[in-house]
Amino acid sequence: MASAPLPDGLLSQEPLLQVRGLTVEYDTAAGPVRAVESFDLDVLPGEFVGVVGESGCGKSTMLFGIAQLLSPPARISAGSVLFKGSDLVTMTARELNATRWRDVSVVMQSAMNALNPVRQLASQYEDVMRAHGEKSSSVIRQRSEEVLALVGIDKTHLKSYPHQLSGGMRQRAMIAMALLFTPDLIIMDEPTSALDVVAQRSLMVQIKELQQRLGFAVVFVTHDMSLVSHFSDRLVVMYAAKTVEIGPTRDVFAHPGHPYTQGLLDAFPSIRGPRVPLTGIPGSPPNLLNPPTGCRFAARCPHRFELCDIAPDMYDTGHTLAACHLHAASREEALR
């Protein structure tokens, strides 16, 4: 259960987003592959949640699963996604379309691919506003200029096509588009990965500023743990389609409960600390076509012991929640 200790500064509120048991399967010729298995997450209003994991761990699939943006052969095979109380998975298309963008918007990895290359920015902002009932051209134009101003882009660029903007500007234009209705939740799939380090940081700073100013919640997926850690309130670590650790960012870094998280942290050298030899994590993730029945990280874990043949629950380590039997209160608890 994802009822992690609440981050400081946030009142005890109704969660904006409640994901329970989300499972996404891909139908392949060799059989169904579970890219996301029983994913749980609560997101409070205004919270910044980072999701990290290596390539192929299922984080992007999970994100699109939440946003109901999966394409065949992927499909949600189990679970619910409660947004403000309504289950997005079982909603009708009409209800879903009304919620889309107004309440939940999306920012993707590459704006060059995510923006329609043959239409001007203005028309791409316009069509979503019209789709949600806005009829007045002047209101549309005004709002478009407002969001561009929020991200620091001059309004003359409304007439530009995506390929005419620089990479950083494109990403910001995409973020501006996501803010059109000032939604409650913005889902971001590695929006900074396509940029250089300097642009990355400035974009992250801008996102954080906007978030604090406008108050939306963010679920931010990335493989770059160190980058997101400066900005997120909570961190989710995924491995082989499952959540292995979740907790306040500071605690995940200072007191990692799961050996995988520890391994990830050890892979980043510290700028200030003493020189230590870099340790990677030997081995590779399991084949999801036929995942192991016990703990999925066991094969690569330096702390493996005999209980690891049983799939672990999420245990409270006192700082975070970690899916590792090392934190079971007793042997009996682990076997339950």
Binding site: N97, M108, H163
Partner: protein, 328 residues
């Protein structure tokens, strides 16, 4: 703008190549065309006819090859193609002017219809993958697009003309006893005569458009901006047309431009089968009558028609794709 200038340059280059080929073919063939002609039309040629051929070939024994070439170029540019040998003493240009509207009207219209219709069907087929439409469409149209144009025409004649005892005509552009005029009955007559040939072109050419558009749609639908369109809560229709089809269409247009050579081949055969008095039919008759001036001019005219169509496609592409406008 630069893009269009580039294409116009290509247009000019191709035209020049065609004209030059036209100039050199008679000279590369064994024997001297002029004297061969004289021998064939022995006694029937008067000085005017000789002069006609001289213009058509640019042949003038008194001049060097280069000045013959220049003279030929000049004649071509001014539209002076000489006199037709079959329709003597009518000029070649007048004959072409007569046949041109029939070809553009029938073949041109049918081809455009096939492209537009095929693109539409391909869009829907690609959008609804796995649906009923999509499981039938590809195999059926792969086969129809491999059918020879002329054979389809003959089959249509068999079914709709011969077996129905002439319900639909299969010969010419209008009935022999009809008088050309802009009257209702005449127009109807023309349409009746155009039905089978147009159907032939439609049936054989639509397949390729459906299939390429469908494949393009499938590729485009996997793109992020389509997913973004769904994320924005846009209607399916809007995504299908404005996001997917708009992008999938672009390579299709390029393909259309490149396929025009095949369209012309098919057109010639269809006109032949149906005795339809267009440029293709005239070309084949000219070949049978060894009317060289007419033949060469027709080849040139067909080339110009194709180039104009290609240019139109280029303009359309530039209009639809902002990236093409900025690219060099």
């Amino acid at each position: 703008m630069r893009f269009l200038l580039h294409r116009l340059g290509f247009f000019a280059l191709t035209l020049w190549a065609a004209v030059t080929v036209n100039f050199f073919i008679p000279r590369l063939m064994p024997g001297d065309p002029a004297s061969a002609m004289m021998a064939r039309f022995h006694g029937r040629l008067n000085p005017a006819a000789v002069h006609a051929m001289a213009i058509a070939f640019g042949v003038d024994a008194n001049q060097s090859l280069w000045s013959q070439y220049v003279g030929y170029l000049k004649n071509t540019v001014t539209g002076n193609f000489g006199t037709s040998l079959t329709y003597f003493p009518l000029s070649v240009s007048s004959q072409i002017a007569q046949a041109l509207p029939w070809t553009i009207g029938l073949i041109g219209l049918a081809t455009v219809l096939a492209f537009v219709g095929g693109t539409l069907i391909g869009t829907i087929s690609g959008w609804r993958r796995g649906g009923a439409v999509d499981s039938i469409v590809p195999p059926v149209f792969v086969v129809t697009s491999a059918l020879p144009y002329f054979w389809v025409g003959m089959m249509l004649i068999l079914v709709f003309s011969v077996w129905t005892n002439g319900a639909l005509p299969n010969d010419g552009a209008y009935s022999l006893d009809a008088t050309p005029a802009l009257s209702g009955p005449f127009v109807l007559d023309v349409l009746r005569h155009a039905l089978l040939p147009a159907l032939t072109v439609l049936i054989t050419s639509i397949g390729a458009w459906i299939l390429t558009m469908r494949n393009n749609m499938v590729t485009v639908l996997a793109e992020d901006y389509v997913r973004m369109g769904r994320a924005k809560g846009l209607s399916n229709r809007r995504i299908m047309y404005q996001y997917a089809a708009r992008n999938a269409l672009l390579p299709n247009l390029a393909g259309f431009a490149m396929s025009l050579g095949f369209v012309v081949a098919g057109a010639i055969l269809v006109e032949y089968v149906f005795n339809y008095p267009g440029l293709g039919y005239m070309l084949l008759n000219a070949v049978n009558n060894l009317d060289y001036p007419l033949m060469q001019a027709l080849f040139l005219m067909i080339t110009v028609a194709v180039l104009v169509a290609v240019l139109i496609c280029d303009i359309l592409t530039a209009w639809l794709d902002p990236r093409a406008r900025s690219a060099s």
